[in-house]
């Protein structure tokens, strides 16, 4: 059956335009290896487990903001790199430390609440300690074991408090006061890993303390990379009416440059947005230090974090992969700690208009990545994703995706365009 028409390409060639049969559909794109991805990188559980081992167990990951634990003995629990439970604690010395939240005795979770203070005693423990409710073992805010009930009677010196401190995890606080952890004890310092990717946002982030005002999370049926990729390509502006109305019509919008950094990070340059062009929105008056009115900047940190600073509010999106088809997405909104109540209210409204759970863009983004996962489920017939737009590194260039998969390939030792091919091949 022939269903062909002739088409003249922008390059002036004449090509036959037609539908494709199975063999044609399955054929690799006629593009460089770096310009497309085999969809098995999103669906294969073996590749997923390898990503946890080779990427998430070895890179710096943001887990929360320092304002979530403002006082000594405050804590925050989370999970990183799949299901590794952690507890972040601010010690009496005001230093923030992170520990694996697993009791070394019988493997129970120690601190169960999402957040709180250790100054209050648990039913079976003392104040200022983390207590495992199971057998009453306790640790201080430095992670040192402080109590083993009937220690001497039961262990006769064979097991003692000195042997059973918590597993401490490398922790640094940086880039707007976020708490970053790395599960690899021998990892490079955070600054080396970031490799300057935050430099063009450092004035906004680090001139004065920030404070969280918004936290939401969802377990979404999608691969974590797909969510991160929505932040790394702006070609999907066409999905968002908000972007079409406020950004794409503005002069210079398409000139905004993408910059790639070592270790897979990528940043988009400053642009200004006419927010009031979206009916019902107001001009954004508030900004961050050094940020022009209505400005917008974004930094994507490999493998699963995005900072997006839209004029009055900072959104930080963090993904925790659960399986090849499930991702915990956490979204935080932040303003300046010194905000007046009126300023804070204004920032919150600005934030929620786009990124809240009822926001205009977030819902569309989540809908898209969930549907991508449905479409490219194993056996669905999905084969390749194309990331071949080249527009001199400007905003609809897909260089952000290509830089991501270059780093992914380097760390995994597999080609993203053909994950059965090892790099040494």
């Amino acid at each position: 059956m022939s269903n062909a028409v002739m088409e003249r390409t922008p390059a002036g060639e004449h090509k036959q335009r037609h539908t494709r049969n199975l063999a044609e559909w399955s054929r690799r794109p006629q593009l460089p290896d770096t310009h497309y991805v085999d969809t098995r990188v999103y669906t294969d559980p073996i590749i997923f487990r390898e990503e946890i081992e080779k990427i998430f167990n070895r890179v710096w990951l943001p887990v929360c903001h320092e304002s979530e634990l403002p006082n000594p003995y405050d804590y925050r629990t989370a999970s990183v790199a799949g299901f590794k439970p952690i507890v972040v604690v601010r010690g009496p010395d005001n230093k923030i430390r992170t520990f694996l939240n697993i009791c070394p005795h019988r493997g129970n979770i120690i601190v169960r609440s999402p957040a709180g203070t250790l100054t209050k005693a648990e039913p079976s423990g003392n104040p200022k300690h983390m207590t495992c409710m199971f057998h009453g073992w306790q640790w201080d805010a430095f992670g040192r074991c402080a109590e083993i009930p009937r220690e001497e009677q039961g262990y006769q010196g064979r097991v003692c408090k000195a042997d059973v401190g918590l597993r401490e995890i490398r922790t640094e606080v940086a880039h707007g006061g976020f708490v970053w952890v790395n599960l690899d004890d021998n990892c490079e310092p955070l600054a080396d890993y970031i490799a300057g990717a935050f430099d063009f946002m450092s004035q906004e982030l680090d001139t004065e303390p920030l404070e969280i005002f918004h936290y939401q999370k969802s377990v979404i049926r999608t691969n974590y990379k797909l969510w991160h990729e929505t932040s790394r390509e702006f070609y999907h502006d066409y999905m968002h009416y908000h972007n079409r109305a406020t950004g794409m019509l503005q002069k210079g919008y398409f000139d905004r440059k993408y910059t790639v950094f070592p270790n897979g990070h990528a940043a988009t340059g400053l642009t200004t947005i006419v927010y009031e062009a979206y009916e019902g929105n107001k001009d954004r008056v508030l900004t961050f230090p050094g940020m022009p009115k209505n400005g917008w900047k974004q930094v994507n940190i490999f493998p699963a974090c995005t900072y997006s600073l839209r004029a009055s509010c900072l959104r930080v999106s963090i993904m925790t992969p659960i399986s090849e088809r499930e991702t915990l997405i956490e979204i935080r909104g932040l303003g300046l700690k010194r905000d007046t109540p009126q300023e804070r209210e204004e920032r919150i409204i600005d934030h929620d208009t786009i990124w809240g759970p009822f926001g205009r863009n977030l819902h569309e983004d989540l809908l898209a990545v969930q549907n991508q996962s449905i479409a490219m489920r194993e056996g669905s017939g999905s084969k390749y994703l194309i990331m071949a737009r080249e527009e001199n590194s400007t905003i609809h260039d897909e260089i952000g995706l290509r830089s991501y998969f270059a780093e992914w390939t380097r760390r995994m030792g597999r080609m993203a365009s053909d994950p059965t091919r090892l790099l040494e091949d």
Binding site: E68, I212, Q216, K217, S218, R221, Y241, G280, G356
Partner: protein, 168 residues
Amino acid sequence: MTNRELDQLQQVHELVYESCLRLNAEDWKGYLDLCDPDSFRYRIVNYSPEIRREQCWMDRDFKGLKALFDLLPKHNSDHSPLTRHATVYKVTFDESAGEASAITLLSIYRTQLDGVNSHFESGQTSLFAVGKYEDRIRLGNGTGPARLLGRTVRLDTRQLDIGSHYPF
């Protein structure tokens, strides 16, 4: 309870339930007809134990809410219908102001349509969110019917899947 008090109670019940019926029907204009255009304020809030503070996820006045409804056709939404199941638990009256406050327990169900694989999942209903309405109501009198002056949706549910373009 006097006839007047019974009448006022009935006004509150009818207004709250009618607002749910109109939202369920996606009759946005009809919903706004139940709201006072000069003073209506709509908010969705919750308390987050993760960051240990109250947070607001939507804040609109009448005009802002109308703009939001008007722009819905331009957005790519999950069109799964939401069904609000409400029970008015408590009504208190401020006779001097001619106003009432009502607390209504709320469950919201989502019947899948196109947000997921429609062949497999459309038609499935699941509980989407629970919470309550905290309404401020101007009672009807000789000059007009009862109207919503303000609605705060206080959510217990803090994970809303892919979220929603539709207010609760």
